[in-house]
Every structure is written in structure tokens, then in C-alpha cells.
């Protein structure tokens, strides 16, 4: 077997594709191997039911790094982001809470519930904007190791120190609070209207086994604020054709630079000789040589499945073993014959073009978490609902709709384990809860796809179904992601690298891990 490629990327998730595109762009002969028949990992579009296309897993975009969009000329390859303008939270008293595209309309709406909060929201928004500016440089940086004395680490730390000092005390303190507090406590400092706090805190629990009152959830909140579509922080959008079309655009950019992509090609293991990666062996038995192998899989698969843990230092293996996944999210995709009719806002209004958040109170969310804490799925879960076909009619046959329901909590470690019956019971709980707010929903359902964390793991490979390739918890972020000393995309095996969301800066359709890994690989070879 000879080295037929300069680089093989294992896993065609969007991070793997980004890494491949940057490597190919730098002239490396690159091959992407994806196990599934489609590229994209958790960012895929599939026609689950004839005529109905779903962003099966991830469904909205914001975090995708603008430098990647520019470097890879993604608009030329099909990137097209459509506006997601509003969030409506139906309340238990039949009213609703909304945030609209227009700041004045949002303000007036908030005033209806709490004039004080309407004022606070403006100041809060500005602070979050500053926080997003504060973390932005970190997203574009290979994490320096504070325990290291190497010149590059020291230079990185110095840069970071200067950056934090330049924030000034007010912002630095806010950042510190966000890093340590619970989202509920943090929002308590700002707002009084409970459904507002609940809806905002929901961003702090997504993909995490935490409740809104658990410390650390405020960081996850911030993570969802730092996207910057079109220079505007915190803007979320749909992708034309679903999130799979983002992966497709990245794949097209990679191929335009000469990379090859192969689907239906599961990698069984990475070939290692004398502490060096030499290529991969596929499940089919085929072996392909390469001088660099990059894993886009999560840390568990990267370090304990693709290679033999015996080839790795004990501390690393131990760290990976203790790295927390604990998937807590499920997804229900519905093909609908028509539009849901929400009791709080009857008919087909503009609210159906945005998100509908089932987060009527902090207590509601915390109770949803309580179920999960004790090994059950939430009987009344938090849900983030969108109807992509409203703004992208080609996702469904004319007049029909696709509804994407992101659900929490659905614990990976369910009491008694997930079975087909339990999955459907979970689906029923989701639909029943939804029907409390939109009674006609059940009569509209043409097809229902229910995905538990167990399904997410089985289909995408994401361990324990964690949507971020591992929790966004402070102890596994930045220079600790995935484990101390191995946060710079390297592994102890020469020529074997990691580029998935399990590395800094973490999950979401962001591409930052893939980019930073590729730049690091190219730097090390230069």
C-alpha cells in the first residue's frame, strides 16, 4: 500500500468537509470518506417522506464562520441563507410572547408584558453583542495551553490576556458571569417576565444535560449568541434546501479545489505504523494510504474506535473516557398537510415563518429537566419548532409543510433503554404537548419521524447522541476540549489529527474546528 493521498479525512460531517476544503485549497491531495450515503453528518437534508425534505438533525444556521464563507467562496457553491425573523412563545393563559424582526415591534410586544423588561432587553442585547465581540477572536484561535511554556503558547496567552484586558471591567465581569452562572440566574439579573426568561434561557440548555437553573448553562446561551450572519451577531437563519445544502456547498468548494469525496465508505480503523498514521482501512477491507489522517468524528470515536487506545497515553484515554456526552435532545420531523393553528395566534400569520418556542415558564423547563434527571424523557418537553417550507416552499409539495421540532429532554440513558415503543411514546408526548398549543396538529400529520439520542447516535455516529460531539461545559471547552494537552487538533499519533466539533470551539454548524485543524496541519507541515 502506498500513500495515494496527502490527506484522508474520516467523516464527511461539515467540519470534515471544511478541513478537506482548506487542505485541498493548499494543494494537498485530499480524500473525504463518509460512512453514510449522504455527506453532512448532523447537517443533512433528506427526503424522509416522498415530496417532503427535512433538515433531519440541525435545522437553523448562525454560527457558520464568515471567514469560511469567504475563504471557500461558499455563496458561489450554493450557500443561501434565508431569514428567520421571529420567535413566538405560546403562554399557558392563551396569550403569547413574541420577538419580531423589527426592534420597535418587539419592544411594543415586550411592553405588553413588562415595560421594564422592554427597556432591559435593549441594554441586554447590547451587552450580548459585546460578549459576542469578546469571544469572536477566541473562535478563530488555536487554544493556547496555559500549562505550557512554549513560545507559541505564551504568545497566544499574552494575546488573550491583552484581549480580555481591553474589554474593560464591565464586560469582563459579564463574561465571567456568563462562564460560571446558570442561565436562569443570569437572566434573573435582567428580566422579570418569566416566559421571557424561560425563552431566552432555552438557548442555554440546548444540546446539554443541564436545566436552566444549572450552573454553566449561561455559557451555552452565549454560544448561541455568537453567530454573526451578515455581520449581525445573534441572527439565525434557514438554509435554502435545508442544512444539508450547506454541507453540499462546502463539499462542492472542496471538490472545486480538487478534493475527492466518497460516500458509503465507513472507515474501520486508522492504520498506524511506528507511531505514525499511514492510512485507513475501510469496513469493506480496502486500505487507502495517506500521510495525514484527519478524524472528523467525536473524541470517543477518534481515540477509542478508529485507533487502538493501547497506542495512546493513559491520561488521554482516561480523559476521553470521562469526557461528557450525555445526549439530551431529540428531534421530531413532521410532514404536514397544512398549517398548524396556534390558539394564541390563530390562522396563518407571520409567526409561522419564525420559530415557535414551547417554553412557557422557567418552571416548565426545569420540570422538563427533572424528568430527564431521573432517566425519563420529559412528559412536557421544551421544543423549538420551525416550518422551513414557509420561507422555502420547495421543501414540501405546494401547500404542504415540513415541521421541525427540536426537543428536550430525551436522555440517552433512558430508564430501561430506548426501544421502538419508547421512541413512539416520546413522539406521542411531543405531539400531545404541541397539541395543547396548536390543537389541529394531530389531524395534519402525514408522516412522523422521531429521533431519540439513540437514533442520532446510530445514524450520525454522534456518541450518546450529543449534538455538539460532547457537551459545551466549561471543563471541556477551549484548551480543555476535548482533553487537556490535546486541544490543538493533534493526537499523540504522528500524522493523525482531529477536526470535529469535539475540538475547540465546539458544536453547531460552525466549521471553525475543521478550519482551525486544517490550518494547524498545514502549519505543522510547512
Amino acid at each position: 500500500m502506498s500513500a495515494r493521498y496527502d490527506a484522508i479525512v474520516v467523516g464527511g460531517g461539515h467540519n470534515g468537509l471544511v478541513a478537506a476544503a482548506y487542505l485541498a485549497r493548499a494543494g494537498r491531495k485530499t480524500l473525504v470518506l463518509e460512512r453514510r450515503p449522504v455527506l453532512g453528518g448532523a447537517a443533512v437534508t433528506e427526503e424522509v417522506f416522498p415530496g417532503f425534505k427535512f433538515s433531519v438533525f440541525s435545522y437553523v444556521v448562525s454560527l457558520l464562520r464568515p471567514e469560511i464563507i469567504r475563504d471557500l467562496e461558499l455563496p458561489r457553491h450554493g450557500l443561501q441563507i434565508l431569514p428567520l425573523e421571529s420567535t413566538v412563545t405560546p403562554l399557558d393563559n392563551g396569550d403569547y410572547l413574541a420577538s419580531w424582526a423589527d426592534p420597535d415591534e418587539t419592544r411594543r410586544e415586550l411592553c405588553r408584558h413588562s415595560p421594564r423588561d422592554a427597556d432591559a432587553a435593549v441594554v441586554f442585547g447590547r451587552l450580548m453583542h459585546h460578549m459576542a465581540m469578546a469571544v469572536k477572536p477566541i473562535l478563530g484561535m488555536v487554544p493556547p495551553d496555559p500549562a505550557s511554556l512554549s513560545p507559541s503558547d505564551l504568545a497566544g496567552l499574552l494575546k488573550l490576556g491583552r484581549h480580555f484586558r481591553s474589554l474593560g471591567p464591565e464586560r469582563f465581569h459579564a463574561l465571567h458571569k456568563l462562564m460560571t452562572m446558570s442561565s436562569a440566574d443570569y437572566l434573573d439579573e435582567w428580566f422579570e417576565f418569566d416566559p421571557l426568561k424561560a425563552t431566552k434561557s432555552a438557548s442555554g440548555i440546548i444540546g446539554t444535560f443541564l436545566g436552566p437553573r444549572s450552573p454553566g448553562s449561561a455559557y451555552v446561551l452565549l454560544h448561541h449568541y455568537m453567530g454573526e450572519i451578515d455581520g449581525a451577531f445573534r441572527a439565525w437563519g434557514f438554509h435554502k434546501g435545508g442544512t444539508g445544502a450547506i454541507s453540499e456547498a462546502i463539499a462542492r468548494a472542496a471538490r472545486a479545489h480538487g478534493a475527492e469525496t466518497r460516500t458509503g465508505a465507513a472507515v474501520e480503523r486508522v492504520l498506524v505504523r511506528n507511531g505514525r498514521a499511514t492510512g485507513v482501512a475501510l469496513a469493506s477491507g480496502e486500505e487507502i494510504g495517506a500521510s495525514i489522517v484527519v478524524s472528523g468524528l467525536d473524541p470517543r470515536l477518534t481515540f477509542t474506535r478508529l485507533v487502538d487506545p493501547k497506542d495512546l497515553p493513559e491520561a488521554l484515554v482516561d480523559g476521553v473516557r470521562r469526557y461528557k456526552f450525555r445526549g439530551s435532545s431529540g428531534k421530531v420531523n413532521l410532514a404536514l398537510a397544512g398549517l398548524p393553528d396556534f390558539t394564541c395566534l390563530p390562522g396563518a400569520g407571520p409567526h409561522l415563518r419564525g420559530a415557535v418556542s414551547i417554553s412557557p415558564s422557567l418552571e416548565y423547563l426545569e420540570r422538563a429537566y427533572d424528568d430527564a434527571k431521573y432517566g425519563e424523557f420529559s412528559r412536557h418537553p421544551y421544543m423549538d419548532i420551525v416550518l422551513p417550507s414557509m420561507i422555502d416552499p420547495e421543501m414540501a409539495p405546494p401547500g404542504k409543510h415540513v415541521m421541525s421540532v427540536f426537543v428536550q429532554y430525551a436522555p440517552y440513558h433512558l430508564n430501561g433503554g430506548w426501544t421502538p415503543t419508547r421512541r413512539e411514546a416520546f413522539g406521542d408526548a411531543v405531539v400531545k404537548t404541541l397539541a395543547r398549543y396548536a390543537p389541529n396538529i394531530e389531524s395534519l400529520i402525514l408522516h412522523r419521524q422521531v429521533l431519540t439520542p439513540d437514533d442520532i447516535e446510530r445514524i450520525t455516529g454522534l456518541s450518546e447522541g450529543n449534538i455538539f460531539q460532547g457537551e459545551l461545559a466549561l471543563q471541556q471547552l477551549f484548551f480543555l476540549r476535548p482533553v487537556p494537552e490535546w486541544a490543538k487538533y493533534r493526537t499523540p499519533i504522528h500524522g493523525y489529527w482531529q477536526c470535529g466539533a469535539g475540538t475547540h470551539p465546539g458544536g453547531g454548524i460552525m466549521g471553525a474546528s475543521g478550519r482551525l485543524a486544517a490550518l494547524q496541519i498545514l502549519r505543522s507541515a510547512a
Binding site: I69, P75, L82, E85, G231, I391, D392, P393, E394
Partner: protein, 395 residues
Amino acid sequence: MLKTSPFHPRTAALVRAQTWRRWAGYQMASSYDPLPDREYAAIRSAAALLDVSPLYKYRITGRDAMRLLDRMVTRDMTKLKVGQVYYTPWCDGAGKVIDDGTVSRLGETTYRLTSADSSLRWLHMNAAGMEVAIEDLSERLGALSLQGPLSRAILSRLSAADLSALKYFRLLETTVRDIPVGISRTGYTGDLGYEIWVDASRAVALWDALIDAGTPFGITPAGVWALDIARVEAGLIMMDVDYFSAHHALIEQRKSSPFEINLGWAVAPSKGPFNGRRALAAERARGPRWSFVGLEIEWDSFERLYRAHGLPPQISNVAWRSSVPVYLGGRQVGYATSGCWSPLLKKPLALAHVQAPHFGAGTPLEIEVTVEHHRERAHAVVRKLPFFDPERKKA
């Protein structure tokens, strides 16, 4: 009081933030939502419905109809077939552009001209001694522009005509439900799209039919703000924004030849006598002194200007229309007249007049950007227009 379009009874109810503007003496919507993002998105992703009734429209009939138009415009009207549309500028005797618009050949001796400005006097002046009838249809004819990738699917549901056979810049007469309409495959967005011409008395019925059939396809009423972004991406010029009509310019320097506004392709090199022929032939031989090009503003340098003030780049949801200096090595070599952040291409774009010889594609220039009350310069690169040219436009 400004005039209102025949679709006003429907559009007025939709202008949520009272964002009206003037357009050729009409009161028209800048946008229906307070911000145009969704209306713009519809143009590129589904279908947008735009009221373009303020266009001036003339019917020209008679034995000499073709002769009149051929004498007036720069393209060769002897080549225009029945059922075909030409986009063309027209010039004064010195070869300076007066206006631009479309000429449709509706029948052997029947034509329709659209223009941005009133053209009645100019038509009559050019028709001296000819056997033609010129009819101003401006107020009698309503016009809707249905633009976007799903526009064909919507129209196909409403009309028995075979729209898949209607090629780019062709037109046909048909009915929509029972309303007689003309449909031309034209528009001002650089996308797949159609313009629909209807008698003003049936305008509201046409609007209702389109909304009804279009709703399952995401049809979205859109205003001028959305259109303005699309037309910058498509590199389409606008009279009295990107160039001055020779009839409006107060000084010579304000006038432009077709070659200077990227319409050289529309000047037929060999055709019979027409207004400006000699001047234009001379200019063709000499090469133009100015060109109208796309400028792509480089993000990194743009962002740096803002960063220096601790700000993220400020991006507007609305296109700008003002004169902005363009530099090369500290010397002004041109000026931009329109621009926008392209939500699709994810770049700040501008349309600019640039002096010879600095207008070749790829030329690095600088454009003025006002950041925090300071006049700064960002790097910009000359690009061939259009910035965005999807296959579906002509497919």
C-alpha cells in the same frame, strides 16, 4: 396628491410600516414589512410580486412603427421578431443616453415601449413625417413583476399558455383565469421572472389571482428596497441614480454614452441611421473614457476600518444610492452610485463609474467608507457585471 397604481387597493393594506416612496409621480411601497429582508429572499428563493406600474408605457402602431423605434433606440429594431423584447437605451444626437427601457413587438406593426421617464415628446419629435400612432398607456396599463425561481410554477397554474416554451426576453398574450394579460419573460432582478401587463380595470383581479395561486409557492409582495438589492446584484443600472438622462443633466459632464454605462453591447455596430449614430461610432473607435463596473469591497479591509473603532462592520438591510468617491493610489478615478450588502453573495457590492484605464476586471481600487464620522477607504476590486447570474434566468 401622488398618483396611486391600479394595484393600490391591495398593496396599501400591506404596507405595515407606511414605508412609502415616490416613483415617477406614484406613491409606491419601499417595502411591505418594516425591513425588506424577507421580500428580497423571496426574489432569490421563491417568488416576489412587485408592482411596477409607474413605468411609462407607450403603444406604437402603424406602418412606420418599426422605423420610428429603429431611429430612436441604439439596438437594431429590424431584427426584433414578433413576440420578442429588446432591452435598449436611447440617445440624443450627441450619443448621450436619454433613458433605457424595453421594446416589445406585439404584432407586425404594433410595439410597446417602456421607459423610466416620460417619453411622449421625444417619441413625437422622432416620429415627424412618419405614419404612426403613439398612445400613452402609462395609466391604463398595470404592470406586475413576478420574479424568482418559482415564478414559472405559479404562472403555469394560472395560464393555459406553455410558459416553459417562453424564452428569455419573449412575450405572449394569454389569460390568467379569465383576465387577458400580456406576459413577458423580463424583469429587473437578474433572476427567472416575468412581467405581466394588464388593463388597469382588471388589475386587482390579477393581483388576487396571483396571490391565490402563488401562496403555496411562497409568493411574497415586495417593494423597491428588495428590488434595489436584486438589481445591484444583477448589475442593472437605474436612470437618475446611476446615470443622468441627457434630458435632465444640467452640465455636459453629467451625461453618459451607452459605452460609459456598460450598455455598449446594446449599440448595434451596423444599422441604419439612428440618434447619436455618428458620435457613437466615433466613441467606439476611440474607446470610452469611462466605464460602469462592479466593485466588490474586500471584507477584511472593510472590517478593519470598523474594528479600529471597536465596532463590527455596519451592514444595512437597504441598498444605498449616493455618489461615493473611488480612488486609485490616492487619486480619485471614479465614483460609485449604488451599492448594497449582498445577502446572497455575502459581500458589500457597489456599481461605479471608473475612468480609463482603471476599469479592467481585477483592478484593485479603493472606495470611500464613512466609519464613525470619519472618511476612510476600503479596498475594492473591479468585477465584471453582473455579480450574480444564475442559470435559471435564461434556462
